[in-house]
């Protein structure tokens, strides 16, 4: 089952990236997709549960608009701080614990912190985030925990 799904995904990408529909290209695509799927279907799909994975994707899609909005805010924030003559920054390092359980939740939170206003993730160790904040307000916003609550929704209840 994993083998077939991996093959379909790989072949889809092959068609997408090649853009040729003649016999030779499709045939070569089938051969190489079969070969790669044969050696790596355990690696790519592992023991993924299709139903749970698609639910995760749906939850992530619901999280995405908020993330995009935050990215735009982050950029305007940096533009303001860069072009302001006085450079209103006061960098600091903050640490906080998270109670996210899954690896995916932690990765999403870490990348979201980097993309949102004024904060960059430096390290995650045993559920403790070390974050560099560029000023006081973004640090406070992050410790307020709104983002963590949203990521927890992405992660879902079952952990």
């Amino acid at each position: 089952m994993n083998f077939i799904i991996t093959f379909i995904i790989l072949f889809f990408f092959w068609i997408l990236l090649s853009g040729y529909f003649d016999f030779m290209h499709l045939f070569l695509g089938v051969i190489s997709s079969l070969f790669v799927a044969f050696i790596s279907h355990d690696l790519i799909m592992g023991d993924v549960n299709i139903g749970r994975a698609s639910k995760n994707v749906l939850r992530f899609l619901r999280y995405l608009p908020w993330l995009l909005y935050q990215i735009v805010l982050a950029n305007l924030d940096i533009v303001y701080r860069t072009l302001h003559p006085d450079m209103p920054i006061a960098p600091r390092i903050i640490k906080f614990k998270t109670d996210l359980k899954t690896d995916m939740g932690i990765v999403v939170l870490a990348n979201s912190i980097t993309l949102t206003p004024g904060t960059v993730t430096i390290d995650v160790k045993d559920g403790e985030f070390i974050v560099h904040a560029i000023a006081e307000r973004p640090a406070d916003d992050l410790l307020g925990g709104e983002m963590q609550a949203r990521v927890k929704k992405v992660e879902g209840g079952e952990g």
Partner: protein, 103 residues
């Protein structure tokens, strides 16, 4: 000059603006960690806007799907690379710059 070209030009201009500001920020900010902020964020949005502009110019084709894939990879790779560099500096023991107290 049709409408597609104009929209493309707008996106390219905004994208270039963000990229230029990112470059200025890297030069202006006082230390390594704060330089990660413009490098990690503005570059992501700047490049994304430029690519969106190209997608609009290209219309729906194989090229625009490839550009969309590049956007997705940038969104995953850029924060991850920023984080990896910052972590390397932190583990090497670099202390962040802090604002001096007013004299």
């Amino acid at each position: 000059m049709n409408i597609t070209t104009i929209i493309t030009a707008i996106f390219l201009t905004i994208g270039c603006f963000f990229s230029v500001v990112a470059a200025i920020g890297v030069v202006r900010f006082p230390d390594f960690y704060s330089r990660m902020h413009p490098a990690g964020k503005n570059d992501t949005l700047g490049q994304t806007l430029i690519l969106i502009g190209l997608i609009i110019y290209e219309g729906f084709s194989f090229v625009s799907i490839k550009l969309l894939l590049i956007i997705i990879f940038i969104f995953i790779a850029n924060p991850t690379a920023t984080h990896a560099i910052a972590k390397a500096a932190y583990l090497a023991g670099l202390k962040p710059w802090e604002k001096e107290e007013k004299k």
